[in-house]
């Protein structure tokens, strides 16, 4: 029997992003964790990102490349898997500044659009609108035109 899966809400996206940050042993949930969920299990936004070749795998690869490039800027090589191996944190990750900003922008976009609650697409726009930091750097690495993508999403609404 075919199971009907309810579309993901923004709350679901946030919850999954926190779970993902925890899996990755991150101290904080950041905008890149939100983007990974929006590019992956969240169908509403994955459909928007797929035509510009931004699926979950590509975003993961771009984030890895961004980290390596950032370390290289300081003349440092990434840790080997063996040296980076450690047990998981016991404390749940807290919300970091970049994720808080993205959530705030998403909320503001929904408010301006006259929607009572923000949709995952509002949140995606909130993530994409960051001009500096890890997410725009990773997007630049993929070759995606962030400004054009924001405009494209705006026209679809």
């Amino acid at each position: 029997m075919h199971e009907v899966v309810a579309p993901m809400s923004t709350r679901d996206v946030a919850k999954q992003a926190r779970g993902l940050a925890s899996e990755l042993n991150a101290r904080t949930v950041e905008a890149e964790h939100l983007l990974l969920v929006l590019a992956g299990p969240c169908d509403e936004t994955a459909r928007i990102l797929k035509p510009v070749a931004l699926d979950r795998g590509r975003v993961e690869a771009a984030l890895r490349e961004e980290r390596q490039a950032s370390l290289a800027a300081a003349g440092v090589e990434p840790l080997t898997a063996e040296r980076a191996t450690r047990s998981g944190r016991t404390r749940a990750p807290q919300w970091g500044a970049s994720a808080k900003s993205a959530l705030k922008r998403g909320h503001e976009i929904a408010r301006r659009g006259g929607r009572a609650g923000e949709t995952p697409t509002d949140l995606l726009l909130g993530v994409l609108q960051a001009e500096l930091g890890t997410v725009p750097r990773a997007l630049a690495i993929t070759g995606a035109d962030r400004t054009a993508l924001i405009a494209h999403i705006g026209r679809r609404r």
């Binding site: 840790l79 944190r89 725009p136 630049a140």
Partner: protein, 78 residues
């Protein structure tokens, strides 16, 4: 400087991104290093001295994680 010059991949942004990446790497290396030291039988005081922090600080930061990882932390000197 105009906002147009504030590119996410420019020289200044690269330096600031390096800071972020190095902080994350330092956190990872600290967690992994403390865990390896404790598995190898180091005392809290030895780990603290190596990190240049107090014994209380290192214990507060890492003990819950190491206990959850089933590392025997009893009978540690100091």
């Amino acid at each position: 400087m105009t906002s147009r010059e504030r590119q996410p991949m420019g020289d200044i942004a690269n330096d600031l991104a390096a800071v972020l990446a190095l902080r994350t790497m330092a956190d990872t290396l600290e967690d992994a290093g403390v865990e390896r030291a404790m598995r190898a039988g180091w005392s809290w005081s030895e780990v603290a001295e190596a990190l240049g922090v107090t014994r209380q600080a290192v214990h507060k930061k890492h003990s819950a994680r190491l206990i959850a990882a089933d590392i025997d932390l009893r009978r540690r000197h100091a």
